[in-house]
Structure formats: structure tokens, C-alpha cells
């Protein structure tokens, strides 16, 4: 009996080995011809250096976080096809990361000696984290004077570190906001508290609106999600804005989340009916719950969410309720929205050829005729003034422009950022379990500031 089982297992193994080796030599050539983006073995098939403007032949890897449709292989393949039409000798292998495990994946790859060549993300990772650790290549040569003139100074500032090295070349940007289920709010009589025209509200009205929705029988109004770091800018923004607190000081040297304003905001949210501190979900899950009608407001929102039509018509929930995007509530009437600036960074893997090829790629995507398409793929706004009318015919995008002036300080580049954001969701979890807010926030600031001064 034992004989049979081992014989069968061995036979199956042998068979799979045979399939492997036998097939490889014969059909490798044919698959190279299809030249899809995952090819790694095709470099030897490219001795042709005749291409006029390519100059370099290289295999490079691009890892993207899910930034609009840049997280979607179909859209990215279309962009890559355009790129390869012009630079046939640069082969780009794409990997798609997620916000839950993406950082772990990049970090293990760095430690495993196989960091990607290009990463698409924001300054908090490219500049403040990997850049600060000396892993990134300086992109100063991409930042020509023309580029600097075309890109706003605050965006530029976010893309370079204190020594003046540029670790990101930006492609797109947006302001993060929140959203409410307008249909439910109307039914609950809560729209009286909302300035739907300007998409703003006061903290007082926000709380009244939440109470009104809660009283109308929708007991899960909003969730301070904190299972992980995904979408955490939403929880920071609601807490900071309510009473005018800040997350860091203006110079980006230390974390100030323990200020009285922030403590008051957290306590108010904790005591508010209808707002749960939910340690089992993250920002992405909050959005799904908002879309399927479980939650009546979402703190993790932006234009890409507003125009997303994967499961229902854009701007509506799955059951067809209207979604209204809103600035975070403030007392002053001047919200400070968290910005997102996404672009490309290059890991310095010690191969000049690959760095040069990576820069070619970045130039093609962020600084050529292709840029409009690349930006539209992200579903966000361009960082370039020259492309400010990219969506001039799009009503929703134009309406969203109303929020852009509220774009606040880009504090995500404060040293120790990766550690601070980890401590942040842990802090929210503690509060959700009933820990005294002042104690939890003080502990958060101690951890975060220790990390800030260590790096």
C-alpha cells in the first residue's frame, strides 16, 4: 500500500519535472515573441541597439500601490504598451502592491536584496521612509527648471529631503476628504447641518448631523477604522480638523497629536453615538461598508472614490443612494485637508544602467505627451499647472476643485513617519478599548517622537 502511494507521488513529481524541462526549450522562443510585461528571460533577445532614442536596454521592475487605476493591470499594460512603442529595449515588470501588506513586501524585498527599481507612491514612503534610509536614488536631474516652474512649491518641497535631494518625481495629486450618504441624511433630516453648496460644515453641525442619523435608526453612522494603516489619513484628518489640532509641528520635526485640541476631538468622537472605533476594519473596508449602506459616512474618501463606478453608478452607493463628498468639519470654517502626492521613486540598486532606464520611464510617464494619459489613469489631478484643465469637461472633477484650496500642510514627511503611523492605529485601538485618551495619545507621541529623533 505504501508502495503505491509513494510511487504515485514520485511519478507525479517526475511528470511535472518532465513537463517543465521538456517544454521550456521548445516554446521559450515563442513566448518571448509575445513580450508581455512579466518576461524576465527576454533580455538576451535584444541585442538591437539601433533604436534611435532608447539608448539603453534594461529589465526594470515597477511596483505600484493602488493609486486609482495604476493598481489595475489592464490600464497599466496600456501605458506600458505606449512606453515600449518608443523604448522597445526597456522591459518593465510590474507588481501590484496593496496598502495592507505592501510595505512589508517592499521591506522584505529590500532585505532580500531584490528591491524594485521604481516604486509608485507618495513622499511619506519615498522621501521620509526609504529616502531617509538612504535607499533611493537622487532624481535631481529630472527636476529641471521648467519642471520646477510648472509644479507648485509645496509639492516640490514634499518631494525632496532636508539636504535637497529629490526622491520623488510626482505625477498626480488630490485632497483627501470624507463623504456622506446624502439620501440617508435627507431622510434623517440631517442635511440642514450641511453646506452642500460648498461641501463644508462646522464641527457642531457635524456632531448634530451624526446624532440625527443615529436617532433615525441608522445606528452605524461612521467608523474610526483602525485595524491597520490603510487609509489612516482619514482618521488623522477628522481628528485634527474638528478643533483645529495639528498632527505635527509646522517644521515637521515632532508629533503634536497630544495637543488639547486633538484630545478633545478624540474624546468627542468616542462619546458620540453612532461613531465606533472599529479595530476590525481598515480604510478600504470602511469604503466598502459605506458603499453597501452599512455606514452612512466615510472618512476615507477622495475624487477617485467619488468617480469610481466599479459596482454602481459613480457618486452613488450600491443601492443607488447619492454620495456627497465633504470637507472635514472644523470650528474655524477653514479645513486643512490631507493631500496625496503620488509619483515615482527609484531604488538605488547599484546598477547605473537600471537607474537611467528608470529615469527614462519616469520622464515618459510624468513629463511627456503621455503624461495626460498617465494622470487620467490615476483618476487624480495633475501636479502640473500646465495640465490643470485636464478634466475641464468633467462636472464632478470641477466640483471637486472646490476642495483643492483647502489642501493643508504635507506633514507626512516628518522623520519617523513609518513608526508613527503604526503607533497611530495602535493608539486608536487603545482608545476604542476604553483606554484614557490622554494616556493613549501621550504614549503615541512618546513613541512617535522617539522614532523621529532616532532617524
Amino acid at each position: 500500500m505504501k508502495k503505491q502511494v509513494s510511487a504515485i507521488l514520485a511519478a507525479s513529481m517526475a511528470a511535472s519535472m518532465l513537463v517543465a524541462c521538456g517544454g521550456s526549450t521548445s516554446s521559450a522562443a515563442t513566448s518571448t515573441a509575445t513580450a508581455e510585461s512579466t518576461s524576465t528571460a527576454s533580455s538576451e533577445a535584444a541585442p538591437a541597439e539601433s533604436t534611435a532614442d532608447a539608448g539603453q536596454a534594461a529589465d526594470i521592475t515597477l511596483w505600484t500601490y493602488p493609486i486609482g487605476k495604476w493598481g489595475d493591470s489592464e490600464s497599466v499594460d496600456a501605458l506600458l504598451a505606449d512606453f515600449n512603442a518608443q523604448y522597445p529595449d526597456i522591459h518593465v515588470t510590474v507588481e501590484y502592491l496593496d496598502y495592507t501588506n505592501g510595505d512589508d513586501q517592499v521591506n522584505t524585498a529590500i532585505e532580500g536584496g531584490s528591491a524594485p527599481d521604481i516604486v509608485m507612491e507618495g513622499p511619506e514612503r519615498l522621501v521620509a521612509n526609504w529616502g531617509a534610509k538612504g535607499l533611493m536614488a537622487d532624481l535631481s536631474d529630472l527636476w529641471t527648471d521648467d519642471q520646477k516652474a510648472d509644479i507648485s512649491a509645496s509639492v516640490e518641497a514634499a518631494c525632496k529631503d532636508s539636504s535637497g535631494a529629490y526622491y520623488e518625481f510626482p505625477l498626480c495629486m488630490t485632497a483627501h476628504c470624507m463623504a456622506i450618504n446624502k439620501t440617508v441624511f435627507e431622510a434623517a433630516g440631517a442635511m440642514q447641518y450641511v453646506d452642500a453648496e460648498n461641501h463644508t460644515w462646522t464641527t457642531d453641525n457635524f456632531l448634530k448631523a451624526v446624532q440625527a442619523v443615529y436617532d433615525s435608526g441608522k445606528t452605524d453612522v461612521g467608523a474610526i477604522y483602525c485595524s491597520g494603516q490603510g487609509g489612516d489619513q482619514g482618521t488623522r484628518a477628522i481628528i485634527n480638523n474638528m478643533y483645529g489640532g495639528t498632527f505635527t509641528d509646522a517644521a515637521h520635526t515632532k508629533y503634536t497629536a497630544d495637543s488639547a485640541e486633538n484630545v478633545k476631538a478624540i474624546e468627542t468622537l468616542y462619546n458620540q453615538d453612532g461613531i465606533n472605533f472599529d479595530a476590525s476594519i481598515n480604510g478600504g473596508e470602511e469604503i466598502t461598508l459605506f458603499r453597501n449602506g452599512t455606514l452612512q459616512m466615510a472618512f476615507c474618501w477622495n475624487i477617485a472614490q467619488q468617480t469610481n463606478a466599479d459596482n454602481s453608478a459613480a457618486g452613488t452607493t450600491n443601492s443607488g443612494d447619492d454620495i456627497l463628498f465633504m470637507a472635514f468639519p472644523t470650528e474655524s470654517g477653514d479645513p486643512a485637508l490631507c493631500g496625496g502626492i503620488w509619483g515615482f521613486g527609484v531604488f538605488d540598486n547599484g546598477d547605473e544602467n537600471k537607474i537611467a532606464a528608470s529615469k527614462t520611464f519616469i520622464n515618459f510617464m510624468a513629463n511627456s505627451d503621455e503624461t495626460a494619459k498617465a494622470v487620467k489613469t490615476s483618476t487624480y489631478f495633475s501636479v502640473k499647472n500646465s495640465l490643470s484643465d485636464l478634466y475641464k469637461d468633467d462636472e464632478v472633477m470641477n466640483e471637486y476643485q472646490k476642495l483643492m484650496p483647502y489642501l493643508g500642510d504635507y506633514y507626512q514627511v516628518t522623520p519617523g513617519w513609518a513608526e508613527a503611523r503604526t503607533a497611530w492605529w495602535n493608539m486608536l485601538q487603545q482608545v476604542g478599548q476604553g483606554t484614557d485618551v490622554t494616556t493613549a495619545v501621550t504614549e503615541f507621541c512618546n513613541t512617535a517622537n522617539a522614532a523621529a529623533s532616532a532617524s
Partner: protein, 311 residues
């Protein structure tokens, strides 16, 4: 005869225990049932607060979504250590076949990983176990103590050094980085030693007197006697490596190199609330191994039991 006797005295306790066992069995089978039915449910029925015990509408959308994601070639095989002697300093990679959905590749990768670990483990352990049981040599007892101590060691303990080691061997992000630590895990050696103790010394002695070489003695005499043990070890290693999520998580990063466990975990992280899609992935992972298990059920149970008796 035996059953007749049992039938005579059906005690209330037996009725009670049978009912409880049936209820427990339903509870144990339920997650699998929920995976299979969930993978055919619509998004609306999955997100409804009142669960649908039986899908009101069967849809394939979840599987369509799963298979319309990234594609990769059907087969890709990186020769371990090949970057050290290839002309351009890159890994030598054989690859073939049409483009298939990445999820299918994950399954192929997993089968390869589990089968390769199994074969390597069985070969190395059988040899080592035989030597430890039947050869008297210097350092034998120290080695055996080391093996026993290392057996219980969870792999997470050594994750950082192992990652750095794989990186310097240029094995990171290849399936070998998952396979080699599994093969190194000394449980197999221990098990094979226990089995090899049962080989009568006089048979080996007789073979030696007849002038058989060491290798011949091992293959002709020892191996047939420990075959049942090897079968048990093979099943053990197969299940263990199939389920060894941790090593895979640390060592693999490219979509085309993932295993099925890792692939589902990635699906979950990317689409954390699209349970239909996740269940489709889980079904894809679970069904093949369950079929293998049901087909070889008898051997599985025998293997497990035999491993325990000697272990």
C-alpha cells in the same frame, strides 16, 4: 459479531454522544461549505446581513474576476544558484506554455513546491536517519541531540537571518527559498532514524560480509525495510509544506511566483471586503488538496498514525 453486541446495549450516553458528534461534524464542515457556496454568490447576497444558507442565485462572476486578473506563463522554473555561473549574472529561467491566469500559476507553484520538498526531504532524511540509527561514528549523539532540539524550533525565530542568507545566495523570490528550509527541518531525519532502528543489524552485517558496498546495502536492504516510514514522511511533508504560509510570505514577492496560500492572502489584502472573490480563491486552493486527500485517505491516516507510533 462485535457490532451485534454493541447494538444490544444502546445507552442514552451513546445516543447523546452521536448527536453531539453529528452537530460537531456539521460545524467542522461548515467553513468549507461556506467557502464553496460563497464563491458562487453575488456581491449583494454576500454582503447581506441575513446570510443565504443556499445561494439564491448561482453566479460565476467571482471566478471570472479571479481568472481575469494578471496572467503569467504556465510554467517557469528558475535553476537554483544559476546566477553564479550564467553569462550575464542573471538566473537561468526555463519557462514555457501559454499565458494563464496568475491563480492557476499559484496552484502549479504550490504543487511543485510541495512535491519537491517532499522528495528532497524523503531522500535526505532516509539516508541520514539510516546513518544515525545504524552507523557508530564520532559525534553521532551530539548530532542527534541537536536534531531533537531543533525539531521544535519555529521557523519565525530565524526569519531575519534566513532572509539575509537567501538574499546573499540570490535565492530570494524563488521557490527554492521556501523549499530548502523545509528540507532542512530535521523532523524527517528523526522519524527516519526511529524507523531505521527496526532494521536488524545482522542483515546489514551479512551484506557486509558478502562484500556489498555501503550504498548497495542501503538501497537493497535498508530502503525496502523503511519504505512505510518514507510513505508516512512523504505525506507529512506534503501537507506541512502545502500549509507553510510563513516561509512563503517572507521569501516570495512576484505575483507569478506566489503560492496559492500567499495568493489568497494577497487577494484578501487587496480586496478585503470582496468575500466572493476571496472565497473563489480559497475554493481554488482547497479543492485540489481535498480531492487528493479523499483519494488517498487511507494512506493519509496510515501515514499519520505510523509517524506517531515511531515519532
Amino acid at each position: 459479531m462485535d457490532t451485534k453486541k454493541k447494538k444490544k446495549k444502546i445507552s442514552p450516553y451513546m445516543v447523546f454522544s452521536t448527536i453531539v458528534i453529528i452537530l460537531l461534524a456539521i460545524a467542522f464542515a461548515f467553513p468549507l461549505y461556506w467557502i464553496l457556496t460563497g464563491s458562487f454568490k453575488t456581491q449583494i447576497s454576500i454582503n447581506s446581513t441575513t446570510p443565504e444558507w443556499w445561494p439564491s442565485e448561482w453566479v460565476m462572476t467571482n471566478y471570472d474576476k479571479l481568472f481575469s486578473r494578471q496572467k503569467s506563463p504556465l510554467w517557469e522554473f528558475a535553476v537554483p544558484f544559476s546566477s553564479h555561473f550564467s553569462a550575464d549574472g542573471k538566473d537561468i529561467i526555463w519557462w514555457a506554455g501559454p499565458q494563464v491566469p496568475a491563480a492557476v500559476r499559484w496552484l502549479i507553484n504550490t504543487v511543485f513546491m510541495a512535491v519537491a520538498s517532499m522528495i528532497l526531504t524523503c531522500i535526505t532524511s532516509a539516508m541520514a536517519g539510516y546513518a544515525l540509527a545504524k552507523k557508530r561514528f564520532v559525534g553521532r549523539s551530539i548530532l542527534f541531540t541537536l536534531i531533537v532540539c531543533a525539531m521544535a524550533l519555529p521557523k519565525q525565530v530565524i526569519l531575519i537571518p534566513l532572509l539575509r542568507e537567501m538574499s546573499s545566495l540570490q535565492l530570494y523570490n524563488t521557490i527554492w527559498a521556501v523549499i530548502f528550509p523545509i528540507v532542512g527541518w530535521p523532523f524527517g531525519v528523526f522519524l527516519m532514524k526511529q524507523f531505521s532502528e527496526g532494521i536488524p543489524g545482522e542483515m546489514l552485517e551479512a551484506a557486509r560480509i558478502d562484500g556489498a558496498s555501503e550504498a548497495k546495502t542501503f538501497v537493497r536492504i535498508a530502503l525496502p525495510m523503511i519504505k512505510p516510514g518514507i510513505g508516512a514522511l512523504a505525506i507529512f511533508t506534503f501537507i506541512n509544506s502545502w500549509n507553510d504560509y510563513f516561509m512563503q510570505l517572507i521569501m516570495l514577492s512576484s505575483t507569478s511566483k506566489l503560492t496559492i496560500s500567499l495568493g489568497i492572502a494577497k487577494l484578501q489584502a487587496e480586496n478585503s471586503t470582496d468575500y466572493g472573490l476571496i472565497m473563489a480563491g480559497a475554493a481554488l486552493a482547497a479543492v485540489p488538496i481535498i480531492i487528493v486527500f479523499l483519494a488517498f485517505q487511507k494512506y493519509f491516516t496510515k501515514g499519520i498514525t505510523m509517524g506517531a507510533v515511531k515519532g
